[in-house]
Point group: D2
């Protein structure tokens, strides 16, 4: 069987699968599941093109990894074929732990365990299936490999994951302003003392990358209507779980039921094989099919929320720098309780506040180091003569108030 | 409420919703349902970007209608605002009758009734909801309006439906060779004696449009692996229905169950409201969620087919000009029966033949008339000095043989 | 004659000429001359695609003006057809005063008179040819018309001139990072109290526009090799004029000779018709053809500089924040004098310093006002929560040292 | 000095210069000259973006050569680094013999010697400058190397020259319909028995390539106004030479004068070094600068033609299948003679007929061979089930009648 495949990708043109092992990893059912998990949850309700999946993103990130490795090799750095293959596999699998609707439901389906932790469990299961042939990939993925730059290409301030998702999310949403020149940024990468650095002439491209990322946050990822839809999804899950806990009958696929009717702690998740076995079968369609059925459920709150989501009657969302006015909030709550004829406590399904934030350049995730022409390393915020780039390093926190229009 | 919306579209940049009535039609739940129906069925198994929906396509076609009307007005043809709005609504609704996975399951869910016929029923229901305010749109849609060119813009050899789907399918699949210059083709349109025509200088663009369409057929719509996946979907539905008819218990959402356990004839469908009421709730997620559950069904045939689809173990497809060799087919059938331990009759779930065909320029759907500089009209096949363009008008029929690798 | 033309433009697809008057302005020989004046001087020596002309840029800016006017009309602002036509003509003519190689030779061919001043003279001559039918355009152009926003669309911090040149220069140079979403920015424009404003939701797009502009400055307009080539052009003109002043015979086209052998002051230029009459015949080809001939001139300095330009042996350019080290410069000067066997004074043709600067957001050219949702106006640097956007308002000045490698 | 350069190219993103020898060839003055020779002559009068040069096209073709060689290597075919470098150099130099305005003036400046023949002389001179280090490139270029496919990549029915110029001409003219997917076509190439072939699955892409080429011919290369402008250029040169032969004084640069005042036969050109030495200094600017001066020449015919070109008062062009009507032509001729007050013979500068033709698939230049899945080779016209593709192999000849509007 020919395992040298070329896949059409509207973002980069063509993506090549270069080794049989990479081919087999992509064919693995756990990876194929990502075909059915949208990269941007319910964002398609605002940007109808944003239906692309974690599957496609993972392939795109792998493609950029191939380009980056080839570029670094051409700069004279030694990267073996095995390392290249392992880095490709590591980045292919970096999002394998995502559940339905990616971040939107990250803590709604399995509480207290992040997609990264689930990912590590799944990768280790895949490694078993491959008789440990992914061990080098795992080492890189867990930052246990001595060539640190390989890890930094997967996870850092300027990694290929971000390059791909910015490009891909911009492309499919049609918000072209978020596009970054991945080709150019990759050509600016270099290695210094074993770490990934950017060459000095790339300063302006990096500034632009940071600004593009910031733009995507406010224009797409934290768009009001996107927040409204994803919060509604969260509230639906919350209500369904509450009903399930009370023994109410709910239509759902068996795997989805598993997570609705059981509260799975992180310890259970790690130690009992059934949980992960159910998780790897779950995707967006389980949730959507169930929500559509719940539109006719006898529980007023559940059916109302579900109908609102399906018919796109989303929360109104107000974003503010300060905390929303308490009196206004309370009065809205009162009004909603009365209109919907529900008690005060349950009104929190229809009106609530939350916090969102965004840091364009998060120094906790490591620096972007610039290799100056004289050989020195400088942090991007210093190397740029746009002296106040550091402003991007400040976290921007905003309050949101969501409520149903009644 | 502000109903003048602008929607980001990666294909055309921005799509404007120009009137409140158009806005309300888009908001209607029957139209919103199209958000969850993929334009190209299972094509995403080959082209991972091809996840775009009937919803997005309908908006795109409406956008082209706006451009076409503006262009024809600038050429001096009278088109009123009401006619423009109605034409936009008509093209918005042209695919409203599609069910899950579009063409892939067109005759599997409701037998003997085409998506066009279902569409007419649904449009008439929407028109009721709008107190007959869509009547002009309906007249245009049914080719009952005296300005024939409006209908021809929706449905003909060179309609805006085709322009949009060629562009959109090319764009999202990444098969850029299928892109057509919709901007340019629209600028070449004119009206002569009340009919849509193309100006002489556009001959080369039309040739290119026909060739692009032909390319998309063989490279995307009739791609071997796409055929394999969609045929598997068909066979799964066929088996599920067979089991349902025998009273076997099958997991499914209630609306999907309605169509599995009832054989709905066209007469029933038209006369009994329950069928259409179920149909308008059905989308891709009902099918996918059910198929995933059926992977564990006790019926060997059903669970095997479902597992094969989900894990992408698709049929092998052979395309040939002649009829597949009978002996070879029989011997394969034998082998499959034995290997899978099933009877000869049931082996047709795992090996079968079918016919596919494609006509690039189908004269039964009307001609592409070229307006020569001297004012004459000529059919494109005559106007082109590429004398043999007529070859495109010949139907290309091929035989396919699909079988499970055992 | 049909004056409704459509012009193919790789940047925007199609540009329409909407009125016969606009058509005639474009046909005027003074405007046609812009076909032979490159937008970016010698930038093509670094970016080989950057051969686009002032002609193309002017058409592009006119196209954006049409879009902007249509958009503002759709927002309910009254703009008459005459005003729209006049605004289109005004922006068409905004660069008509440019001479060969645009900015590169701006003060080399005619000293002490800017391209804007020359432009005003030329526009007034064209207006004469049109029997004052361009008077409204002139009023807008000179900011004498009461609808200030029309002027602001032509000349301001966020005008259509900039939108077009950023896009066009990015496009043709291939530095895609400089692309801005002109479509989107135009859709964000509005009018408040007669002035052009940007709606609040556009803040991130404006930030990105400012950053893109900054990137283009350092990556293209002030690229080292571009500076080197354009400084060489300046030095060649300087030497040629020096020789001409001394009565040395120089090959040149008659119109070019006019400016080489006469020192035309601004007063002469304005009062004596011969100067402008010669100027409107001058373009890049006069200069290039002459320089190629001068490669064989007996004057060592002139022929050396010309050969260096034609054979792309450009100055080495060093950019620094501080003033270049005096001793280093003097020692280089010494070395060059000796190597080339020229006197100390003449060595300034082969080694010299200069200053370059760039302000991304120049408040002297007016503000970018943001229309907040509550109806207030705020300057972009305040409206942005990227609090330090004001850093972009600081002028970045750098020193350059140029010298011939010997 | 770092000779590993990356050049921004709007068509392909980035073009890499991979070896020092390639770098030095590009730096050679004879190659740099191509920077000043437009790829498409006067086409920019119709498509204002079409200012790209032979320099840029040569780089683009070299880039495709690199991709093609890498692809063929990945298919298992042995191509050494030296062969790759030589093939790159050979294609870089394939158009080095073009003079000002490329094809437009091909037989006007030097009569009876094609750009290919001039090219061979120039390449051989460059090879001398490089001490025969280009010998392998020359062997490939002249089809004297045993790996025939390398020559076929440079010159054949489906060579990289064509791929680049179709893409580049489409891109810069804005006629996007002419774009071909060079990436995809290259991925379809293979080698069989030492010859270049296309894999069977590429049939539709090849069809589309041939149709795109045909479209570019009629829409760009043979566009009426392009013909009009280029014929005017030819007639200007013809008149200037006639005047020169009669001893009339004409302004021109020395190198241009050389060709105006001497009639250089092919034998002279080959044997006397002065001719080639002048030729390699000639570019578009020599011609344009002179034509602008000739606008004021005392010869009525010359100055009229020159003014008409500069002010874009071009010939009216009529294209017809049959020979233009003799009586109509004669009567026009009569009218023009009278109006312009010139004699009958000289009227041929203002009215004349000519022939243009185009073959999309010219079998005299070799076949496009398709490698069928069974290993057989078939000509594309047979392999395609679009049975009449062979129609593209018929030459389309048309008559043109050009005349000045009086």
């Amino acid at each position: 069987m020919n395992k040298n495949k070329i896949i059409n990708d509207p973002v980069y043109g063509f993506i090549s699968i270069k080794t049989p092992l990479i081919f087999d990893v992509i064919e693995h059912p756990y990876f194929q599941r990502l075909r059915y998990i949208k990269q941007l949850g319910m964002t398609h309700l605002v940007y109808p093109g944003a239906l692309h999946t974690r599957f496609h993103h993972a392939l795109g990130a792998m493609h950029l990894m191939q380009l980056a490795v080839e570029h670094l090799q051409s700069k004279g750095h030694l990267i073996t074929n095995d390392e290249c293959e392992a880095a490709c596999i590591a980045i292919l699998l970096h999002d394998i732990g995502h559940g339905p609707f990616s971040h939107a439901l990250e803590h709604s389906i399995v509480k207290g365990i992040s997609h990264e932790d689930i990912g590590k469990l799944i990768i280790s299961k895949i490694n078993d299936d491959f008789n440990n042939r992914l061990s080098l990939a795992l080492q890189i993925f867990n930052n246990n490999y001595y060539k640190k730059f390989l890890y930094q290409l997967i996870s850092g301030q300027l990694d290929l994951d971000r390059l791909d998702y910015l490009n891909r999310d911009s492309f499919f949403s049609g918000v072209t302003e978020g596009m970054v020149s991945s080709d150019r940024i990759i050509k600016l990468l270099n290695i210094k003392n074993g770490n990934l650095v950017v060459e000095e002439k790339g300063i302006y491209s990096i500034e632009k990358f940071l600004i593009a990322r910031r733009l995507m946050y406010w224009q797409v990822y934290l768009h009001k209507t996107v927040i409204a839809a994803e919060q509604m999804l969260v509230k639906i899950l919350e209500r369904a779980r509450e009903l399930a806990n009370n023994g109410t009958e709910l239509f759902a696929t068996p795997t989805f039921k598993h997570f609705l009717y059981n509260t799975v702690s992180i310890t259970h998740f790690i130690n009992e094989i059934q949980h992960i076995n159910n998780f790897v079968k779950l995707d967006d369609s389980d949730i959507m099919a169930s929500i559509k059925v719940w539109c006719n459920h006898t529980d007023f709150i559940l059916s109302t929320l579900c109908n609102n989501l399906i018919n796109r009657q989303l929360y109104k969302v107000e974003i503010s720098t300060g905390i929303p006015d308490f009196e206004k909030t309370e009065s809205l709550k009162q009004k909603i309780s009365e209109k919907l004829n529900i008690n005060y406590k349950d009104s929190s399904y229809f009106i609530f506040t939350d916090i969102i934030n965004n840091v364009a350049y998060n120094t906790r995730q490591g620096n972007i180091n610039v290799l100056m022409k004289n050989g020195d390393l400088q942090d991007i915020t210093i190397a740029s003569d746009y002296s106040n780039l550091e402003a991007l390093a400040k976290s921007v926190t905003k309050n949101i108030l969501c409520y149903t229009k009644v």
